[in-house]
Symmetry: C2
Subunit: 327 residues, 2 copies
C-alpha cells in the first residue's frame, strides 16, 4: 500500500484530534496552538540502517548530523524556527563507544549550527541494525505558518538551490567511485544543510502561498502541493537547476539527466509557490537576491493534471518519489 | 558500559545547551521554558522488537497503547500534563495492514484515555524487527515541576499502587502459562496505566520533593533519586505492596518474592519522596485518600549508602535495574 497510502489511513483514524491541533498528520510538521498568536511545530523523522543508510559509507558523525538536519528542514518548510531536539537511538552491540560519541558529535554540530539544542532522548539496544529517530519542536507566528495546501491556480512554482547532488552523492558512495571528484554531492548526501535562513526570509519578509522541503524528490513533493492544494501543475524540466556534478556524473554513465532532476530525493531544498505578482514585486525590490531562487513551473487547475514539459513536449509527471515504505 | 554510563557521557557532551533549557538529559523528561511561569516537558521512549517486546505474545493494539503510555508516565512523573504525541514506526514487511491499524487503534485509545492526541509521525521500512518510538510533549507550572533531585534527608519514600504484576505478566506470557489466571498481571504488562491523575493530585494539591516513575524496577529508580539528590536510603522490603498474583506466581514456582518486589520493571507506578511532616498533614486532611499510597522507606545521608531491610536485617540494596542497553 506504500507509505503515503498508510499515512492517509492513519490520518483518517486521527481526524480532528483536539481543538488546539491546527494541523495534524500529513504536512511537514504538526501545528498546535500554544499561546495567542504563536504555534508550536512538531516533527519527527527516522533513519533506519539498511533502508536510509548503510554503515560502510556513512560516517557516524554524518549520520548524527543528517538525522537532526532533516527534521530542522521540516520545521523550516513550515516557516518555523527549530527550538529543541530529542533523539531516540537504537544501537546494535557492534557499535563502539567512539562510534556513539561521533554520532552525538554530529548531532551537536548540527544543533549548534541551527540553534536547536538536544534536550533529551532514549538510548536502547537493537538486535539488528541501528535506528535513529529525531523529534524537533519548533515554533512560528500563527499567521505565517506555511502549509502544503495554500497554493492557488496560476502561482509560480519555485525552488531554492539545485537538484541532483544528493542522488549523485548516494550513487558515488554505493559504487565506490572517487569521492573527491564528487565532493559536493557526497557532502550534500551525507550532511544536508537545511534551508532555514532562506525559509525564514521567504516567510517573514516575502510571503509564499505553500511550501515543502524536497526530501522525496521534486515530482513527489510537487504531487503533495498539488493534491493538498487541489490543483494541477506544469513543470518545465529545462528550468530546474541541476548541479554540475550531476551533469558530469550522468554523462559519464551515459544516463539520462531526468531522474536526477525529477526524482533525486534528500535534496532538502525548499519548493514553494507564490503569485506571479508577488514574485515580480520581489524582483523589483531585489528581495530575492542571495536566495538562489528559480521558477520551475506553474500551478494549474486540477483538471489539467500534473504535467512536465521537456524539449517542447508535454508529458504526464509520473509519481516516482522515494516511497520509504512501499518501494 | 551500559545505558546509564552512556547517558552520562552524552549528558556531559550536551551540558548547558541553552538558557531556556532548565533541565536537559537525565530526568524523565526535558524541561524547557516557553512562557512566563510555564514549562514544556519533552520525553521520548522507544520499544524495540526482540528487546522490549516479542510479537508472539504482544498484540499490535497493546504495543500501540504501551508505546504511548510509557511516555505519558514520564510526563506524569515530572508533574506535567501530556499534550501532544508523535510516533515513529519502523515496520518490517511481515506486518499486515490490519496489524498496523490495530497498533494505531491502541495508540488512539491511549491518546483518548489520557487526552494526548497523536499529531504526527514518521512511518519507515525496517529490514528486520519493528521499532516504535514515541515522543510526548507536555507542559507544567514552572514552580511545580518535580525532578529526581529534590529529595531531602529524612524524607519518606512513597509509592503508588503495588509491585510485581508487570514482571509476572511478562513471565506468564513467556512461559505460555494460563493467561486467564494472571489476567491482571498480563494486562499490566501489556497495557500499563500511567498514574497521571495521581501525579496531578500529588503535585498540585499536596507537594512532593522528588518523583520518578517505576520503569526499570524499584531498586533502580530509588538509585536515581539517591544519586540525583545526593543521598542514601533505607527501604523496608516488607512494606512494599506486592500484587496478589505476584505472590501466587512466585509461590507456585518456588521462587523468592524479592525480585518481584525490587526488580520488577515496567510497573509505571510513581515513586516519590515527601517530608514526614507534610505526609502527616496529608493524612490529617485525608488528602491521601483514594491514592493507594504506601511509605516504603526513608531517605538518609549519602554516607549511609543504599540499604534494604528484610526480616529485621539490613543489606545493601543491589542495583539490579533493568538496563535496556548493557544487560
Amino acid at each position: 500500500m506504500g507509505e503515503f497510502g498508510l499515512i492517509e489511513r492513519i490520518r483518517r483514524m486521527f481526524d480532528e484530534p483536539s481543538p488546539s491541533v491546527i494541523l495534524g498528520i500529513g504536512d511537514d510538521a504538526a501545528v498546535c496552538r500554544y499561546q495567542p498568536g504563536r504555534v508550536m511545530l512538531l516533527t519527527t523523522d527516522a533513519l533506519v540502517e539498511g533502508v536510509h543508510f548503510h554503515r560502510q559509507y556513512t560516517p557516524a558523525k554524518s549520520l548524527g548530523w543528517k538525522a537532526l538536519a532533516i527534521n530542522i528542514s521540516d520545521i523550516a518548510a513550515m516557516g518555523g524556527v527549530p527550538r529543541y531536539a530529542l533523539v531516540t537511538l537504537a544501537l546494535p552491540d557492534t557499535w563502539t563507544v567512539e562510534d556513539v560519541e561521533s554520532l552525538y558529535e554530529g548531532i551537536d554540530q548540527c544543533a549548534l549550527a541551527y540553534g536547536c539544542p538536544l534536550v533529551g532522548g532514549d538510548t536502547v539496544q537493537s538486535p539488528d541494525g541501528c535506528m535513529l529517530s529525531v523529534t524537533v519542536l519548533g515554533d512560528a507566528d500563527e499567521r505565517k505558518v506555511v502549509t502544503r495546501s495554500g497554493a492557488r491556480e496560476g502561482d509560480l512554482i519555485c525552488m531554492t538551490g539545485e537538484m541532483g547532488g544528493a542522488r549523485v552523492g548516494l550513487e558515488v558512495l554505493e559504487s565506490g567511485a572517487d569521492k573527491k571528484r564528487f565532493r559536493h554531492s557526497v557532502g550534500r548526501f551525507l550532511e544536508p544543510k537545511p534551508r532555514l535562513w532562506e525559509a525564514k526570509r521567504l516567510v517573514e519578509g516575502m510571503g509564499v502561498s505553500s511550501m515543502i522541503d524536497i526530501s522525496d524528490g521534486l515530482t513527489s513533493e510537487i504531487g503533495h502541493l498539488c493534491r493538498q492544494s487541489g490543483l494541477g501543475c506544469l513543470i518545465q524540466e529545462e528550468k530546474v537547476p541541476v548541479s554540475r556534478e550531476a551533469v558530469r556524473w550522468s554523462e559519464a554513465r551515459g544516463e539520462a539527466l531526468t531522474p536526477y532532476i525529477l526524482e533525486s530525493g534528500e535534496e532538502y531544498e525548499l519548493l514553494f509557490t507564490v503569485s506571479k505578482r508577488q514574485f515580480e514585486g520581489w524582483q523589483e525590490k531585489g528581495l530575492d537576491r542571495n536566495l538562489e531562487l528559480t521558477v520551475v513551473g506553474v500551478m494549474m487547475a486540477k483538471s489539467r493534471g500534473m504535467l512536465v514539459q521537456r524539449r517542447g513536449k508535454t508529458y504526464p509527471l509520473s509519481m516516482k518519489g522515494w516511497d520509504h515504505f512501499g518501494r
